[in-house]
Amino acid sequence: MKKFGIAALAGVAVLAAFSTDDSQFTQPLSKDQQILHALNRLTFGPRPGDVEAVQKMGLKKWIDQQLHPERIAESSEVAERLRPLDSLQMSPAEIATNYPPPVVVQAMTRGLLPMPKDAEARQRVQLQAERFRAKQDAKADLQAKQGKGDPLQQAMRQQVLATTDPIERRKLVADRMPQQVLPYDLNEAKLYRAIYSNRQLEEQMADFWFNHFNVYMDKGADRILTSSYERDAIRPHVFGKFRDLLEATAQSPAMLFYLDNWQNVSPDRTQQRPFAKQKAKQARGLNENYARELMELHTLGVDGGYTQKDIVEVARCFTGWTITQPNRGGEFIYNDRVHDKGEKTVLGVTIPAGGGKEDAEKVLDILARHPSTARFISTKLAQKFVADDPPPALIERMAKTFRDSDGDIRAVMAALLESKEFFSEGAYRAKVKTPLELIVSAVRATDAQVNFAIPLATQIAQLGQPLYRKIEPTGYSSANAEWVNSAALLARMNFALALADNRVPGSKVDSSRFDENIAAVARQVLFHEPAKQTLDSIEKALAQREPTPALIAGLVLGSPDFQRR
């Protein structure tokens, strides 16, 4: 309740007019509106030429293609930009060796762990160890003086990196700031795909499911585990069966570490430690964190009909689902020695005594097929793709599809996209863009060429949505009220002017493609007519001056019109 309650409370007076009136969801859109609406929702924002392309292909066929990304040829722009980001292809163990976290670097220099075989990687480790020693002495001084992430220094660094050739840049980052390699690779990859991929709905879905099954990359070992999490647990299942996706996340080291299940052991069996080296401070007994979030956030929803007793029982079923040495990129294992062997009852279903790994598999079966899960997942999808307060009839139709198809995500999305509610006045421009959507849509609308995406990621963080760094397991809210506060709005307007004026390092807008006329530039960026108030404000402000197309475009990108999708 709490998560969605915030939006409802904060905007109660204003939202009421838009959202509780379900008749809005029966008023159809014009053909042109339908195309723009589909582009705004299924992609990260239309690019020049997209509207015409969909018109030519036919909207129905285009949507069907987006639902089957494997039928769409991928843009070479993506592959080209991802190529230097080698950590994206590595297993967690390879990452731990090639881009080790500081604890591992220290262990390597003390001879407790083997040095990387690759000569370049070894050199990096040695360099890092030296720096670490030097830094240790100056640590207090340094931190007190600079604080965390001095913004000026950061800006200069980004400026330099943006003007360096991608291959050289990669070496520079790996040598000079090795701890940034993994977050850079993840952030860059996400943005290049969002900006350039032809499989836009797949990218939206990957974003949705990662956020639904959120992990926080700065929690200890999650730094080296998050790449594999997105690649191996999330992406293969974004249009698949929910049950498979659920199991992939349940067994992923990233999730096991993030929600502490790797330390979840039967209290009766704590004498038998999972590993000799993990002493009393690790194995303390039952850890309910994962069990609770599994039901509250991943499946049933907070009002889904479970009790505290169910949480304990589910936690007991998951005892022994753990990881080998997380900091070295360990893998999922089931450890029977710490598993609770007693009988459990989960949501009224008895799981007999004497079971093993399959106890938790049964829990996943129960949860994936529970009607509350069908409803909760359908609601969340509708909130992201339709409106903050989607009509109950639509949710019921989606939930029925979910149940009838055994949780087939593609079928549920098809039900949403075929609905009259999706193509209705109630949904049209009803969502405020999240920071990620705003920034990527601005880049796409202006056809900016991005050769280094980290400055964009920094902007997204400043707008309040640091990628891969949502601490709470709730993930980010897609509700409008979440994203409209003073500091964030100001940051949106500042970004808009900076992007159009080519002051965002690594992104280049060719303003010669803009018209001279204010209304025409607005249409080029918005793909629809600007609001009269927006146009009047710009015309009045620029009446005395010789307006440059870049300034006009910046003002339109920062306008209320562009904040909606």
């Binding site: 709490k2 207090a140 007190a144 992430g149 709005l489 100001l490």
Partner: protein
């Protein structure tokens, strides 16, 4: 009264012109101007990384302290800057915290020892998360205690809750308007060609959500600009250290003195995770001493700068957990359990170390290694919320913790 009114008018109301001031501002000013109750302000400071509370406030009266820490223990008070500064014959301040001693002596600074979270985690991530959400053991809490501590208001200052930094901390997130400001001077449309145009667009848009938020934004921008017409001059003889925390506190002081409706503020300082070389050549020097020096001078500057204004301000410091009672093999300490908190301000019952001391004998230690928690951190924060901020709905600020045990740190 006359001078006060004059000051308010010139500092904040003046810029809007008579009769055009936004509703929240006049309300704020009247509230600040009313004889009672006055607007109270709470400033929370987070020491990220888990400071070593046993060396911050030293139990020099405990023999066992010196046995556990042969290389790290701060010597008993001997009136040199090599030794603890005696507080009450049993506890002493780390010598680097000397700037805080006068505040303690004035009765304005309270110390709570052996305070912490009931949750056993020794993960920085989890423990900070719990301390900021105010719900130990519960991860899905969507908002933070400092945001929930604000009373719901239909008309509120856009800068009632301000965090100094680029990202809004967990403690301040929630349904009440709260802003993260890295630097007051950056809170504006940087490209002057855009400022007026954007204001007009958002002022006139029919989009109700963006219209409301846009108006608030530009009110806040004007407010920040008006405050900064002149360079900030702290009170006579006060010099803020050039550290991140020092600069953060200076900006908070500036907001407080400008009467713009600030109610809660948040600042932080990192670097406390002293596993290696916590001390230098002698225990009272080195890494921790440097950090505490920065910390103490920043807090003391803030206190002096605000002067009489401290009557309405309370500052509270916290850190996610304490460190091992015993020193480790690399002249440092590892992740522990209970820690120490400071609270200072005009309304604080200070000059005292509050809380029950659990002792450092083996059997007295938590899991035989760490200082026991005898005061829940929510007892301290809860008392400040209720008795200082005057928000009696403590059950909604700390859900699941309906009856905090107040320690009497707020005079009342």
């Amino acid at each position: 009264m006359t001078t006060r009114r004059l000051f308010l008018k010139s500092s904040a109301l003046g810029m809007f012109g008579v009769g055009t001031a936004p509703a929240w501002l006049s309300r704020t000013l009247y509230a600040a101007d009313a004889p009672s109750p006055r607007k109270k302000i709470l400033v929370a400071i987070f020491q990220r990384g888990a400071v070593d509370g046993l060396n911050m406030v030293v139990p020099f009266g405990e023999k066992r302290y010196y046995e556990l820490r042969p290389n790290l223990a701060i010597p008993k008070p001997d009136h040199t800057d090599n030794a603890a500064i005696d507080l009450d014959g049993f506890f002493g301040l780390h010598p680097a915290l000397a700037p805080l001693k006068p505040i303690y002596d004035a009765g304005h600074m309270a110390i709570v020892h052996a305070v912490g979270s009931p949750d056993p985690t020794r993960s920085h991530f989890d423990a900070q998360d719990y301390m900021e959400s105010g719900t130990p053991g519960r991860k899905a809490t969507a908002d933070g205690w400092l945001n929930r501590a604000l009373a719901p208001q239909t008309i509120a200052s856009p800068v009632r809750a301000v965090s100094l930094g680029t990202v809004l901390p967990r403690a301040m997130r929630g349904q009440n308007e709260a802003v993260a400001i890295a630097n007051l001077k950056d809170f504006q449309i940087r490209d002057t060609r855009g400022a007026g145009t954007f204001e007009s667009m958002y002022e006139n848009t029919l989009d109700q959500v963006l219209n409301g938020a846009g108006r608030e934004t530009f009110e806040a921008v004007k407010l920040m600009q008006s405050i900064q017409k002149q360079p900030y001059v702290p009170a006579a003889d006060v010099q803020y250290p050039n550290s991140a925390l020092g600069q953060s506190l200076m900006q908070i002081a500036r907001l407080i003195k400008s009467n713009v409706g600030l109610e809660v503020a948040f600042a932080e300082m990192g670097g406390w995770d002293t596993h290696f070389n916590e001390v230098g050549a002698r225990p009272a020097a080195g890494q921790l001493a440097n950090l505490l020096g920065q910390f103490g001078t920043a807090l003391a500057a803030f206190y002096q700068d605000l002067g009489d204004k401290m009557a309405d301000v309370s500052v509270v410091t916290m850190s996610e957990f304490g460190r091992t009672a015993r020193e480790n093999g690399s002249r440092g300490t590892d992740h522990g359990h209970a820690n120490v908190m400071f609270a200072f301000g005009g309304g604080i019952r200070g000059g005292k170390v509050h809380g029950e001391w659990p002792g450092l004998e083996q059997e007295q230690l938590y899991e035989q290694r760490d200082l026991q928690v005898t005061t829940d951190f929510r007892d301290v924060l809860g008392e400040l919320v209720v008795r200082h901020l005057g928000n009696s709905r403590v059950a909604s600020v700390f859900p699941g913790y309906e009856r905090p045990k107040f320690r009497g740190i707020v005079a009342g």
